[in-house]
């Protein structure tokens, strides 16, 4: 049995022992199983159940209970340090190794939203768990979670869109240099007649479009065109829907912020950062799970493709694996693990994203889409075009990440590859450049 699974079981055993002690003292009537005792969130249960979560390095207990944020805290640009940090923080909180946990920002020069929000979700869920335990009368070993060493720039980020805002709801009202799309948490309703969550998704998408539009107004630019509003709504709507539908923990998260930039010609433009994620099974894990993947036709076809790649020795460990291949294929037009007539969300997202960048997207150094699921990283920056494939007389949009535009050929390793760090779910990280051509001209 892995360390992580045994750890999850240990947490439950301790709780059960505590409940039995309460029962002996007469503080619980009835069976202990009927008691609504505090338990870890589905997210946390899933995370601590995987020994290789975030990083292949073993959990390293911090002797001083200080967790140093990496110099660049980014899952894309500093993955090894950032993933290792998340793992150490996760298991330290799970084990309750210390009286106080200190998050040290003194070495940090840059925080990216992707790493930041993962940390915030972990912290938020653990704080909720510890508070429930306290309320229930169960003592926690961890009494405090503090921060130290923040530079003014980092502090500004934390107050605007980072941990201070997302966890403690503390905001710095004076500094408006970052314009934010606040954290939106969606939960997939499990009861058929529960429509609250379905409404939240549409509100979240509307708020996102409004935020981009408001940011442009604040930058003294005119509004987005109706077409651009539609594209942004389409992008976020499809991906948020996917994140929710495919989350095995039932939660999805979206967050973003907008920052003004100036180029060498003193042209102003905006860069919208957006992260959408869920924790749970990765795309590949869903496809290979017979209980999760209902579309058996897809599995047959993917296995045929895997055989082809194996025969031609196109797989290589730690560079391009079956998981990389299947994850890429799962993004294509018409492919879904849920049913045969679904499967258009991610490819539509990429298509809309490409159009939003504008006519000269190939020269755009800012806009990039990254998807991490399990041990696979896919990067999209407009270098490769979509190709149209005709299958049985019907057209499909294909993104093969190679010159041939053909999925039978290996994709460019710079764009589709296996990575050593494991993301327990799927995260999409987008940077969208809003240029003047997207703006409505005032008459």
């Amino acid at each position: 049995m892995s360390k992580s699974i045994s750890q999850a079981i240990l947490v439950k055993k301790r709780l059960k022992r505590f409940l039995k002690s309460l029962k002996r003292k007469g503080k619980i009537k009835g069976h202990i199983n009927s008691v609504q005792a505090p338990h870890l969130s589905k997210n946390l249960e899933h995370l601590i159940s995987k020994s290789n979560v975030f990083s292949n390095k073993d959990y390293s207990k911090s002797s001083q209970n200080k967790f140093r944020i990496p110099k660049i805290f980014s899952l894309i640009d500093s993955p090894d340090d950032s993933f290792a940090f998340l793992k150490n923080l996760l298991f330290s909180l799970s084990n309750q190794d210390a009286f106080e946990v200190v998050i040290d920002y003194s070495n940090c020069e840059r925080i990216d939203l992707d790493a930041s929000i993962c940390m915030d979700i972990i912290l938020k869920d653990f704080i909720t768990y510890f508070n429930k335990r306290s309320h229930f009368g169960i003592k926690n070993s961890i009494k405090k979670i503090n921060t130290t060493g923040e530079s003014p720039q980092i502090k500004n980020f934390l107050y605007s869109i980072g941990a201070y805002k997302n966890i403690a709801n503390r905001q710095n009202k004076n500094d408006e240099s970052l314009i934010c799309y606040p954290l939106c948490i969606g939960y997939r309703a499990t009861k058929k007649n529960d429509n609250r969550n379905k409404s939240n998704k549409e509100r979240d998408v509307t708020n996102l479009v409004d935020y981009v539009n408001n940011c442009l107004k604040k930058l003294n630019k005119s509004e987005l065109t109706a077409k651009s509003k539609k594209y942004i709504a389409d992008i976020s709507g499809e991906i948020i829907t996917n994140a929710e539908d495919h989350s095995s923990t039932n939660y999805r998260y979206s967050i973003g912020y907008f920052e003004e930039k100036v180029d060498e010609n003193l042209n102003h433009y905006g860069v919208f950062n957006l992260v959408i994620l869920n924790f749970g099974m990765s795309i590949y894990e869903r496809l290979t799970n017979p209980y999760e993947c209902k579309n058996s036709d897809i599995i047959i076809k993917m296995k045929e493709l895997s055989s082809k790649y194996t025969k031609e020795s196109l797989f290589s460990f730690n560079e391009f694996t079956e998981e990389s291949l299947w994850t890429l294929y799962a993004l294509q037009d018409g492919v879904s693990s849920i049913s045969p007539h679904r499967g258009n969300g991610t490819i539509k997202f990429m298509d809309c994203f490409l159009k939003l960048k504008g006519e000269d997207y190939k020269n755009d150094d800012f806009s990039k889409l990254s998807l991490i699921s399990g041990n696979t990283l896919i990067t999209f920056d407009g270098k490769y075009d979509f190709k149209t494939k005709i299958v049985d007389g019907e057209e499909f949009k294909i993104m093969a990440f190679n010159e041939k535009g053909d999925l039978d050929f290996k994709p460019d390793n710079n764009y589709v590859r296996s990575i050593p760090n494991y993301f327990p779910g799927t995260i999409i990280i987008a940077k969208v450049l809003i240029k003047d051509e997207n703006i409505k001209i005032n008459s």
Partner: protein, 108 residues
């Protein structure tokens, strides 16, 4: 010819200017009773709110799934009319939704 008008405004989520997701499409399909209306009326008109940003193809796909399957593409467009006075242009998303419904296979 008898006709019936469905106002999507009646099914809009509070504070939302989009219709998105298959689950919402299914909800609106059931609540609007469009599958029954198409049997009772020659023409069904669907009015789109004028301040809408987008109706996602996935929403159209689920909302119109049964009637597109029943009528086919040609008859569907003869009998289902959209009223849209806003800036949002629904035609591309609608066509994409109809195309997905009629799709028989996938990219692989």
């Amino acid at each position: 010819m008898n006709s019936y008008k469905i106002k999507l405004e009646d099914f809009r989520s509070i504070d939302a200017k989009v219709f998105t997701g298959r689950d919402r499409g299914l909800t609106v399909r059931e609540n609007s009773k469009i599958d029954e209306l198409i049997d009772k009326y020659d023409i069904v008109e669907i009015e789109i709110p004028s301040d809408l940003y987008s109706i996602n193809p996935s929403f159209f796909e689920e909302f119109l799934y049964n009637i597109v399957k029943k009528l086919g593409k040609e008859d569907f467009f003869k009998r289902v009319k959209f009223i849209n006075n806003g800036e949002y242009e629904h035609e591309e998303d609608l066509l994409e939704g109809v195309k997905r419904i009629l799709r028989r296979t996938n990219a692989l």
